[in-house]
């Protein structure tokens, strides 16, 4: 029943989407308000049908309707309810449906907020967004149909989702955030194409474009950080980032989107870098497609790549069409936007800093792209399986990252459009001197590794200048208007909310940079194999194995090993890492136990336990500052929200859609 109903709803969505793409085209070409109204209505139908289809699938999952093939694939009577709910994105076909849902929500929201203020671009943008929708609904309706009926006989129970995915609560939020980021990039793409097709890129459209990029960018940022956190808390290898192809796939569009958020500021201010900025918008969308292709087609072996599926070639074809279409649009329509403006830069200006920022981000993207795609191309040509090791990525991205941190400090300290004054240069020099002192202090307390010390020193430099950029306008206002400093700071921050949000994001990035460099450089690790009652030494404390016990749950049994941690003053605490045996899965999966602290984490990951002999092996890691990775992520999120929060109602009415 749900099979049939779901299929019908998806087909309705597909029909609405396809018709809407065409009526949008007519609305754009003929400037017809009726066609535009119809397009809007069809966009809402599309959004509604995606919501309904997802609701039906959730209903099927929750009622364990194994006549639906997707439920038979990932459902199980013994899994807890929250796992059943999130099973929607635990396998390929369901995740494509989630993709459709998110796209529907974005298209619906975009349709809702675009008024008739930009009659030239809006119909094009709706048409393009719906065109992307056609592709994804086509997948849901066809190759990746989650509503397909199960083959007879209908099973009485299913295997449940991949144990790795039901092992931690973070799995509930990580994929949706990533999807909101990934899929949300469709809207800026549609808006960018619309500007090119309409031959008009005015300031209002640019501001809208930037806002529509900032929202998915924020989601993507959080999604990437949550992914690292999940990897750290669940996978038991003690790390959060390994330049895994799937991680890279989410990072690539983030890089180009970040470059866009910066170059858009130049474009908004001076109508420069139009072609460049639009290229970044289109590239971001193409990279999300590439990323989806890489993760969903099973060409990489990873926890994220589900099974081999026929979706690969279809995706590759869509990627090729989107790429060729984007290139053609840029090549033929860029001149329609207006005359070529003067080149950016010259002198020590903020404009120059922005140009370098974009160069560095583009290089960064290039390096990650090469390292990610090279093994694929190599295998396609030579048939040999290889991968590019982490040291290669680190070698090229570390200096680029350091330079970006440098610019993060210098950029806000420089004026737009004219060379920096002696006073401004002096300020930068002063921050530079302090950062050298910081580096000296690091060396003095015994920190001797070059890269992390350079990172800490450079982060101090950028932090000083960022705080100054936030502080100086407030101080100036307080003096000029005779206000109290607090009131002045509040007023300045409110009037320049977008900029202050950006600075807060920068501070979050600096926190993450320092935490990542320190935790990677100064971690220690040891494997302890202990008999029951026996102790091993690690990081100045004693780790004593107390024994193991079985813990039964409906969907799994866990072998829990208990360790006591003893310091010079007695018991510090106990840890119980475990190995989970899922009923439908042969291989046990570990859950590490992490003792998180503000200065360092202690990480216990069980390697093996033999209850019969009373022997257990545990890997113990000590990693400084790890928690600051997640705190930095929260700071970035806060800054993004401050920056992207819609303006007050009065201004919204006056402003562009």
């Amino acid at each position: 029943m749900i099979s049939l109903l779901g299929r019908a709803v998806v087909l309705l969505g597909l029909a609405a989407c396809a018709t809407g793409a065409v009526t949008g085209l007519i609305a754009a070409l003929r400037q017809s308000p009726e066609a535009l109204r119809l397009t809007r209505a069809l966009a809402y139908v599309f959004a509604g049908s995606m919501v309904l289809a997802t609701g039906l699938m959730e209903a099927a999952l929750l009622t364990h309707d194994f006549s639906v093939s997707y439920v038979a694939e990932v459902g199980s009577l013994s899994t807890p309810t929250w796992v059943t709910v999130v099973s929607l994105w635990s396998s390929l076909n369901g995740s494509i449906l989630l993709w459709g849902l998110v796209l529907g929500l974005f298209v619906g929201a975009f349709t809702y907020v675009t008024t008739d203020k930009n009659p030239l671009q809006t119909p094009w943008a709706l048409s393009m967004a719906l065109l992307v929708g056609v592709f994804f609904t086509f997948l849901v309706a066809g190759v990746a149909n989650p509503f397909a009926p199960s083959p007879e006989p209908i099973p009485a129970d299913g295997p449940g989702p991949n144990p790795l995915l039901q092992n931690h609560v973070l799995m509930v939020i990580h994929p949706p955030f990533l999807y909101l980021g990934y899929v949300g990039m469709t809207i800026p793409f549609a808006m960018g194409c619309a500007a090119l097709l309409a031959g008009r890129l005015d300031a209002a459209w640019v501001r809208g474009l930037r806002s529509w990029m900032l929202v998915p960018w924020g989601f993507l940022t959080v999604g990437i950080i949550l992914g690292g956190w999940w990897s750290y808390e669940v996978l038991g290898w003690g790390g959060w980032w390994a330049w895994d192809p799937v991680e890279n796939a989410s990072f690539l569009p983030w890089l180009t989107a970040t470059a866009f958020l910066h170059s858009a500021m130049v474009m908004e201010r001076k109508e420069q870098l139009r072609g460049w900025t639009l290229s970044l918008v289109l590239a971001t969308f193409l990279l999300t497609l590439l990323g989806t292709f890489m993760t969903r087609s099973g060409i990489f072996n990873s926890v994220h790549s589900f099974t081999e599926s026929p979706i690969g070639p279809v995706f590759l074809a869509f990627l090729a069409v989107a790429l060729i279409g984007s290139l053609a649009l840029l090549a033929f329509r860029i001149d329609a936007l207006g005359p070529v403006e003067d080149a950016v830069g010259g002198g020590i200006t903020r404009d120059t800093a922005f140009s370098f920022n974009n160069l560095l981000f583009t290089n960064f993207t290039f390096v990650v792209l090469v390292g990610t795609v090279y093994p694929l191309l190599n295998e396609a040509i030579t048939g040999k399986q290889i991968s590019v090791g982490e040291p290669w990525f680190d070698r090229y991205t570390a200096p680029l990252g350091l330079l970006l941190v440098f610019l993060m400090g210098v950029g806000p300290a420089l004026p737009w459009g004219r060379s920096a004054s002696a006073g401004q240069l002096k300020k930068i020099g002063g921050a530079g001197l302090i950062s050298l002192v910081v580096a000296g202090l690091c060396v003095a307390v015994g920190l001797r590794k070059v890269w992390p010390v350079a990172t800490i020193s450079m982060a101090a430099f950028a932090l000083l200048l960022t705080l100054d950029a936030m502080w100086a306008p407030a101080a100036a206002r307080a003096q000029a208007k005779g206000e109290a400093l607090g009131a002045a700071a509040w007023a300045v921050a409110r009037s320049a909310r977008r900029r202050y949000g950006g600075y807060i994001v920068h501070i979050g990035v600096l926190i993450i940079a320092v935490a990542h460099a320190s935790a990677t450089a100064w971690q220690t690790k040891e494997t302890l194999t202990l008999r029951q009652g026996e102790s091993g030494q690690f990081a100045g404390m004693e780790v004593r194995y107390e024994g193991s016990a079985w813990q039964e749950q409906p969907h799994r049994r866990s072998l829990v090993a208990n360790f006591a941690l003893l310091g010079p003053e007695g018991l510090i605490g106990t840890v119980s890492p475990r190995l989970n045996h899922y009923k439908k899965m042969g291989t046990p999966i570990g859950t590490p136990e992490v003792r998180t602290g503000l200065t360092e984490d202690l990480y216990f990951s069980l390697v093996n336990v033999d209850p019969a002999v009373g022997l257990a092996s545990v890997e113990v890691h000590r990693k400084p500052l790890v928690v600051w990775l997640w705190i930095g992520g929260l700071v970035m999120l806060a800054g993004t929200v401050i920056s992207a929060w819609p303006a007050g109602r009065a201004r919204a009415a006056a402003g562009p859609a």
Partner: protein
């Protein structure tokens, strides 16, 4: 979703109107030329030393065929743990076993403890390097992820080898 009007930075100068005509041919040529040079330089940097950090996915026969070239390279060696060859000394944190594909046998020395599922006859992927003496030293051990794994009799087919890599229990 409506953005606030762009606030002007207190330090900003009024935008300078730029009215220069479209780029001349010379400027365009210069631009294209510098882009080409930059792209070339970037490619050299990027690909120049890629080989040093590659990780090779090999089975014992392929590694043997590589001969001297295999020594020192980072390799993910995939095969089956030969029955009767596992020696684990918990006190010394030393694990020794032989990985075979039915044709070539490679002695492996790993530090650390064997993962819970590790046993004789199971498919494994070990990451590490081959030393001059012909011993493979590994710091990372991955066990094949499957419900019903049977040790292949005799030689592994190319298809089996491929699925071995795609089913190891790790990221």
């Amino acid at each position: 979703m409506t953005p606030e009007p762009s606030p002007s930075a207190p330090t900003a100068a009024p935008p300078v109107p730029s009215t220069r005509p479209a780029a001349t041919l010379q400027r365009r040529l210069f631009l294209v030329g510098s882009l080409l040079v930059a792209g070339l330089a970037l490619s050299v940097v990027a690909f120049g030393d890629l080989g040093e950090d590659l990780v090779y996915f090999w089975d014992p026969s392929q590694m043997a065929a590589a001969g001297e070239d295999a020594v020192g390279a980072t390799i993910r060696l995939g095969g089956v743990v030969k029955a009767g060859t596992v020696q684990w000394q918990p006190d010394a944190n030393s694990l020794k076993f032989i990985v075979t594909d039915g044709k070539v046998e490679v002695p492996v020395e790993a530090t650390g403890a064997p993962p819970q599922m590790f046993r004789e006859g199971i498919g494994v992927v070990v990451e590490g390097t081959l030393t001059k003496s012909g011993v493979f030293t590994s710091d990372r051990l991955m066990v094949k992820h499957s419900n019903e794994y049977k040790a292949p009799e005799g030689e592994m087919s190319a298809e089996e080898r491929k699925t071995l890599y795609t089913t190891v229990e790790e990221l």
